[in-house]
Each structure stands twice: as C-alpha cells, then as structure tokens.
C-alpha cells in the first residue's frame, strides 16, 4: 500500500509544479494552499515552550438529557408504586452534574420530567433546534420505551438510554439495543452512564482532532469517514528539517533529565542519545502546534532507514502518549486512530504492536519499541520502564515498558472507519531482548476466547491496560462501527477436502 513510486519516466513533482505555476490557469489557490500545508510556519522558535497537555483537543461537548416518566401517581406496572420517583431523580440529577463536571461536558437536563407524548414532541423539537452532540434519557417507567425510540428516530442524534433496573425487560433492551445510534444501559450502576457520556466526548475529540500524517512527499488534508478526524499529510522531510533546527534548549535538557531520572535502568543509550530523543519530543510538539494539530503518525522507520535523524522517535512518542497526545508509528494511519481510541475513550495510552504468535505457549507476544507508561490512566502513576536503544537499528532511545503481570489487557484495531477488532487477554510476562529479537517493549499475552494464538486478527493492534471490551463495543454500536473479534474456535483444526 505504501510503496514509493520510483518510475523515472514520470514527470517529477517539482517539474510538474513548475509547469503548473506557469500555466496561470486558476491553480494559484491550490498552489498557495499546498504551500500553506507544506510550509513550516515560523510561528514557534526552538526555544519556545509548548505544554504537551494543551495539544490535546478541548471540544465543546453538549448533551441533551431528560427524565421520561408516566403521569403520577404510579399504580402497578414497573417500576411499581413503591418506587420513589423524586428520590431517584434527585440522585441521578446529582450524579449527572458530577459526571458532566468531571468529563468537561455541558449537559442540558430538561427542568421537569417528560410525562406524555406532547412533552416528548416538544423536547424533540428543542433538540432538533439545538443539535446537541448526544442525548441521554433516563427512563422512569417501563412504558416509556416507545418514546425513546421515537426520539432517536426523529433527531438522528446518538442516544444513551439509562434504564434503571425496574424499567426494562429483555425484550425492551434487546429491541432498542439493535436500533442504530442507541446505547442502552439497563443497570443501577451509574458508572455505565458516565461511560456512555465518555463515548460522546470521545467522538467529539475525534472530530476536533487534526492528525499530522508525516510521510512521503504529499501535502494535503482530508477528513475520515464516520470519525470526522482531519488528516493533514505533510512531507516526511518536514520532521527532520525541523529536528535539525531544534537546538539543545533548557526544555530539551529537562526532558532528557526526566527520561533518565524516572528510568529503572539505562542499558545502551548514552547522554547524547537522551538529548537527541528529547529534541525529537520538542520538535514534535512544535510541529503539532504550528499545524494546529493534536496527533501525529510518522514514517519513522523510513527516516531511520534513510539516516535522516540520529534517533528514532520512540521515547519522544512515549512522552507524548503519556500526555494524552496520540503519536503513532510507521505512518500507520489506522494504527494511530486505534491509539487515539484508547486515549479518547479510555483516557489511557497503549502501544501499537507487531504481533507474534508464541506457538509453544499458545500466547501472543505484542512487540514494539515504544509504549506509554501511564498505563492505568493519564492521571495515574507510570509503570517502570528501562531505557534501551531501538533494537532494529541500535540507535537512539526506545522504551521497554514493563507491563503489570497478570493484569487484563485489551487489543483494538480499526481496520477502517467502519470496523474495529476488539480482543482481550492477560499479561503473562514481559519478554526481554535478548534472548528474544524484535522490539524492546515485548509483552506475552494469554488471549481470552481464542483457542489458537495463530488466529489472532490484525496487525499493529493497540494494546491497552484493562478489559474494556464492553466500553469499546458500546462506542462502536453508538456510532455505527462494526465490532469483531478473533475466531473463538481454531481455524486450523481441519484441512479442506482434496
């Protein structure tokens, strides 16, 4: 897919642009736009400090909410006469306020519960005018389900239906859950509602993100289907030219010092390697800021191969990831989008991996030279790491992040904007290099519900700490993304008939 066009008979990009510039046929605007994307806007200087945390988008997230109930007083029927409506609604109102504040979401809860068709119609009209990004209805009677369905049908806005136990049977939940754009939460556990609100926020984060796609020689900008993320392609040289200008500033020294101080051990890297790696980190921040971008993915391996930079960006990417800024390897766009998903939905980093089936143990070894360290969340303590060089090139600084043994993990991979692979497993051991070859962060995983490790789907799947299968599947269902998982039963069991 990513082969470079090497035909020498073709007109070169430079020659072509020269001809176009002479043509004076209305391409001026394109030319200036390309230039605008390609140019290194001199808006930041090598010494300017950029707070990495501020590179994460801060979208406006608006959620419309309402209680749906039947006219009072209740007599028979679920939730029953004994159900204290005011008490429960006050409790949920307080929880909603708290969750909204924590997530930075603006929730507009209808002042009074809606209790008839006219009220539903009026609320739908209000929603159609205000166009919030998501909706939350909290059911207070089992007969309110048809209203929920008409709300999603009339507004087309993703809808979270909170049905506290006592307001739904299997049929209600099953039917509504199959309606596109609906997430049904049949539970008393408020954390599920907060998780639903996180999904709306994650979608807005995707929409407000511009990802720098640093590779080849292209300059353009496109938008991804369904997720709405802007992808700004910039030539690969953009990075190494900016890197060359990045001097060793106080910030660079501080970053290198942090790197060294927090490491459990330093194996190969020398002090100069740490400084170079810190220059990568600062360069990346500057580029992101200059392009008003929030994430990046770069043809790092190609740059190392071409010896354009003295260090691969592995540790710089670790630092960005720990700040909630997606930094993807090898210009793998869907790998980066998968990293972004763990960052935006689960508030934690991960790492995209080269998967190796370990056939003696029937496990999967997930391997790459970078990983975030704040595995349990951006606001949680980092796990230990060892500073190593990049194993394939013996250059620079990469990380062997030591994943917690026996803890659950989730593997996710967008195959496109329409499909996500979701698998789970558990950490067995951190694999050292040597004796193993491959990449520095190398984690052996026992996969759940996959009989044969050779059947694990995907490449560059993102490994993240914790079992998040339900949350990820819920996000997919709310936004029309098909979720799939690796085959449960071995596909190697039988051979085809001759």
């Amino acid at each position: 897919m990513n082969t470079i066009h090497n035909c020498h008979h073709c007109v070169s990009r430079r020659d072509c642009l020269k001809v176009l510039s002479l043509s004076a046929l209305g391409t001026t605007l394109i030319g200036s736009a390309v230039k605008a994307i390609a140019k290194e806007a001199a808006q930041t200087a090598p010494g300017d400090y950029i707070d990495a945390a501020l590179l994460r988008p801060r979208p406006d997230v608006r959620v419309g909410a309402a209680f749906l109930e039947l006219p009072r007083p209740y007599w028979l029927g679920w939730p029953g006469t004994t159900y204290d409506l005011d008490k429960h609604q006050n409790e949920y109102r307080a929880l909603l306020t708290k969750s909204s504040r924590q997530l930075g979401i603006h929730t507009d809860l209808a002042a009074e519960p809606i209790h008839d068709v006219a009220g539903v119609t009026a609320w739908i009209k209000k929603i159609q005018t205000e166009k919030p990004h998501g909706l939350l209805v909290m059911l207070q009677h089992i007969h309110c389900w048809p209203w929920a369905e008409s709300i999603v049908k009339e507004t087309g806005i993703p809808l979270i239906v909170f049905a506290p136990v006592g307001t739904a049977f299997t049929g209600h939940v099953g039917r509504a859950s199959r309606v596109p754009g609906v997430r049904v939460l049949s539970t008393l556990d408020w954390s599920a509602v907060e998780e639903g609100l996180r999904m709306v926020r994650a979608k807005r984060l995707f929409e407000e993100t511009r990802l720098l796609w640093i590779r080849r020689s292209e300059s353009n900008e496109t938008v991804l289907d369904r997720l709405g993320t802007k992808v700004r392609a910039v030539p690969r040289d953009t990075f190494n030219l900016a890197y060359d200008k990045q001097t060793v500033t106080a910030e660079v020294r501080d970053a290198a010092s942090d790197m060294r101080r927090h490491a459990r051990r330093i194996v190969e890297p020398k002090p100069n390697d740490l400084l170079n790696s810190a220059r990568c980190f600062v360069t990346a921040k500057r580029l992101l800021a200059e392009h008003k971008a929030n994430a990046l993915s770069m043809d790092c391996l190609g740059m190392v191969s071409a010896k354009l930079v003295p260090t691969p960006p592995c540790f710089a990417w670790t630092m960005l990831q720990d700040h909630g800024v997606t930094a993807g390897c090898e210009a793998d766009l869907w790998g980066a989008m998968s990293l972004m998903l763990t960052s935006y939905l689960l508030d934690r980093p991960g790492y995209m991996n080269d998967p190796v089936p370990e056939t003696a143990h029937n496990t999967l070894i997930a391997s790459h030279c970078t990983s975030g360290t704040r595995l349990a969340g951006f606001d949680k303590r980092p796990v230990p790491y060892i500073l190593r060089n990049h194993s394939e090139s013996a250059l620079g600084v990469s990380t062997q992040v030591l994943w917690p043994v026996n803890e659950p993990v989730t593997l996710v991979r967008f195959t496109s904007a329409n499909e996500l692979i979701v698998d789970t497993g558990k950490v067995v051991i951190n694999v050292d290099t040597p004796p193993a070859g491959g990449c520095r962060t190398s984690v052996e995983l026992r996969m759940d519900n996959i009989e044969d490790c050779r059947d694990v789907l995907g490449f560059h799947q993102v490994v993240t700490l914790g079992n998040h299968r339900r949350a990820l599947q819920g996000f997919c269902e709310l936004y029309g993304i098909k979720h799939i998982h690796s085959p449960e039963h071995s596909t190697f069991g039988e051979k085809a008939p001759a």
Binding site: L20, T27, I30, K292
Partner: protein, 384 residues
C-alpha cells in the same frame, strides 16, 4: 502531490473557456464545463430534466462561487419551463483522495404542481447498482436514496453494488448451468435480490453455490438471509468442497407484508475472504415439494416461479431503465434537493452501505479543511 497525480493534473490543461474548477488543497482539480457537466478522470456526468412543459435543453449559466466565502465551488443555473435547475459542485476532502459533491436543486416557480424526471447522463459503460454507478470495480457516482415511487422497479432483480462474473465457477459433475456464473460483492458488501410476490405469501426458496476460488475451510463462509426464514451460514468448501455445486433451502415468507421477498448473501464479520458469492436462485410456490438434487441438476427450473442464473446472461437489475432517474412530483412553489457524490482523480465515490457521509458532514469537512488552511496561511486569507 505525487508524480502520477501531477500527470493527471496536467491532462486537464487547458481548462475550457467558461469552465469552473473544483479543488481541495493538495489535490488535482475537477471542472464543471460551461454546459454544467462535471468532468472527471473517468468521464463526465450531466444532469437532464424532462417532463411536461419542461424543455430538455436551454441556456445555462455557470459561474465560480465561494461557499461561505471559503469553499471554491461551481454553480450552474438554468430555467427549464416552470422549473429552476441549480447545480452546485464542490470538492469534499474525503479521505483518502476526496470526492466531488454535486447538489441538484429543482424548484417549481410558476405556482403549479410539476411532474419531472431528473436523470444523469453517464458514460455508456456505466453499470447502475443500488444507489451507485460503477465503471469496472470503481464506484464513480453515489446517488441519494429515492423517496417512495421516485424510482420504478422491475418484478425482480438485483439491487446491490455487486459485480456479475460469468464463467467464474468451475462446477464438477452434472448440474444446472447457473453454477458457472456468479455475482460477487466486493470488500464486505452484500449481494441483494428482490422478488415481487403476493403480499404475506410464503415460498420455497433454494439458493445455489459453487466455490471455485477458496481451497481451505473457513475462508469464505456465507451468511444467507431469505425473508421470513431463519438465516443460514454455510461454508461451501466445508459443506460441498471446491468446485462442487450445492444448494440450501429456505421456507420464505413476506414477513413485512410489502409484497417483496428480499434475499441477501454476505460474509460474516472476520471472514478472511470478504467477497460473498451467489450462483443461483429458485423460488417455488410453498406447496411445491422439490428434491434438492433435481433442483441442483436444473431439472425443476420450469416449475419455479422465479429461476435466476445469478450473474448469467438473463440476470437483471431491479431498476428497469439502466439509467439513474428520479421521477419527482413537485408541489407548487416547492423545491427538492438531491446530493450526488462523484469520484474525482484517484478516488471512488463512497459505498452507501458502509459510509456514514451525509451532505451535511461532507460540507462540514470541506469547511473545516479550508478554514484550517486559511488559519495557517495568510495568503489564502487574502484571496478570500
């Protein structure tokens, strides 16, 4: 911009007088000609209006405009009798290579209801699918969903974006000739057929398959839905073997009482080969008892209400005209807007069954990108 794109761009030069270019930063442009046709690397698409008191041709004015003073666009306006036709085209920066968005607005202006037919002029080899127009395997136009009655339908036919592939099958043994032909839907698509039947009726449906590509188990399982019957999943290699024809039977029913029987075949999530295939369909009255070996042999074709050699010479589209046409009824002083996506250099138009793009999100994407470019480049601000 790579060399190939550059060459494609050079092919457009010089731009014809009166033509207007559509563009997005970093991509080669398309153009709207002075006659309102949108010209792409695969050919051109034009819009045709016919109807009572609606002249087929007439003057048209094409001009360059900036939508919200930012998005470069082409606009063509023509008065066709009582109807004002307005075409607006701009480039939406859909990943990976963009797509041109053509909005067609028809407005009744004389205070009388009007019945008109809005059609697309397309290259002769264009293949019309369900909401798509394809040249080879490339979707070049995506059409908006029609409202009820706007598109006439045949009694039966395929209504998908799949491809007919005659002589793809290599059936071993005596069997119906239909096992030599298939339709295949690419990249996770769905094969879809529809048959007119008496409302609420039941039927005995048989589907025929012959897998002549895969050699291993589990590579291309097929999920078959026949309306009113439980779905069946079959791996033809496992059930019958390579090149071995086989059939599945379904007790069908017009479940939704619309007088149509829907049949679909797709691959399940995670299938290694995501291109479903289908060779044959037989529909018998439910009272008819059939021996499946006789159906497979082709000896009961004449007893079938419908017999379809899928992908064969007599297979047909559900849409009779092999044209993209919308039969619109415009109340007095009303307007209707239809939005088409048109493939531009290096791109395909979105597949409706998998894409989430809407006219609103396409427009927002263009707006966001042009705003982003302006914000980093004062030059383009000046040009606004």
């Amino acid at each position: 911009m790579n060399s190939r794109r550059c060459l494609a761009l050079l092919l457009w030069l010089p731009v014809a007088a009166g033509a207007v270019e559509l563009q997005s930063p970093g991509f080669p442009p398309s153009r709207m000609e002075a006659d309102g046709r949108l010209v792409e690397d695969w050919g051109a698409v034009g819009v045709r209006l016919t109807g009572n008191a609606v002249p087929e041709s007439g003057p048209i004015r094409v001009e360059a405009v900036k939508l919200e003073q930012l998005i470069p666009a082409a606009r063509a306006v023509a008065q066709r009798g009582p109807v004002t036709l307005t075409l607006t085209a701009y480039r939406a920066p859909v990943w990976p290579a963009g797509v041109d968005v053509l909005t067609v607005r028809v407005e009744e202006t004389r205070g009388q209801p009007a019945a008109i037919t809005l059609g697309l002029d397309l290259p002769a080899k264009a293949r019309i699918g369900n909401r798509t127009v394809a040249l080879g395997n490339r979707i070049v136009v995506t059409c908006p969903a029609p409202q009820a009655g706007e598109v006439p339908l045949r009694d039966w036919g395929y209504c998908d974006d799949a491809t007919s592939m005659p002589n793809w099958g290599k059936p071993i043994g005596a069997c119906d000739p239909a096992f030599r032909n298939i339709r295949a839907a690419l990249n996770g698509g769905t094969i879809r057929y529809q048959f007119s039947v008496p409302k609420r009726s039941t039927a005995n449906v048989v589907l025929g398959f012959c897998e002549s590509h895969s050699t291993e188990l589990g590579i291309r399982p097929l999920v078959c839905h026949v309306e009113g019957a439980p779905p069946q999943t079959v791996d033809p290699i496992a059930k019958w073997g390579r090149h071995k024809p086989g059939v599945l039977q379904f007790d069908a029913r017009d479940e939704n009482r619309d007088g149509k029987l829907d049949i679909t075949v797709r691959t399940p999530a995670g299938a290694a080969d995501r291109n479903p295939i289908l060779n044959a369909i037989w529909i018998y009255p439910s009272a008819t008892t059939v021996k499946l070996e006789d159906v497979l042999a082709g000896s009961l074709n004449s007893a079938a209400t419908y017999y379809v050699d899928v992908g064969g010479p007599k297979d047909q589209s559900l849409f009779p005209t092999d044209k993209v046409e919308y039969h619109l009824r415009l109340p007095a002083n009303s307007a209707r807007e239809l939005t088409f996506c048109v493939a531009c250099v290096g791109s395909s138009a979105p597949t409706p069954s998998t894409s989430a793009w809407t006219p609103e999100t396409l427009y927002r994407a263009a707006l966001n990108v042009w705003q982003g470019v302006s914000s980093v480049n004062p030059e383009s601000q000046k040009q606004k």
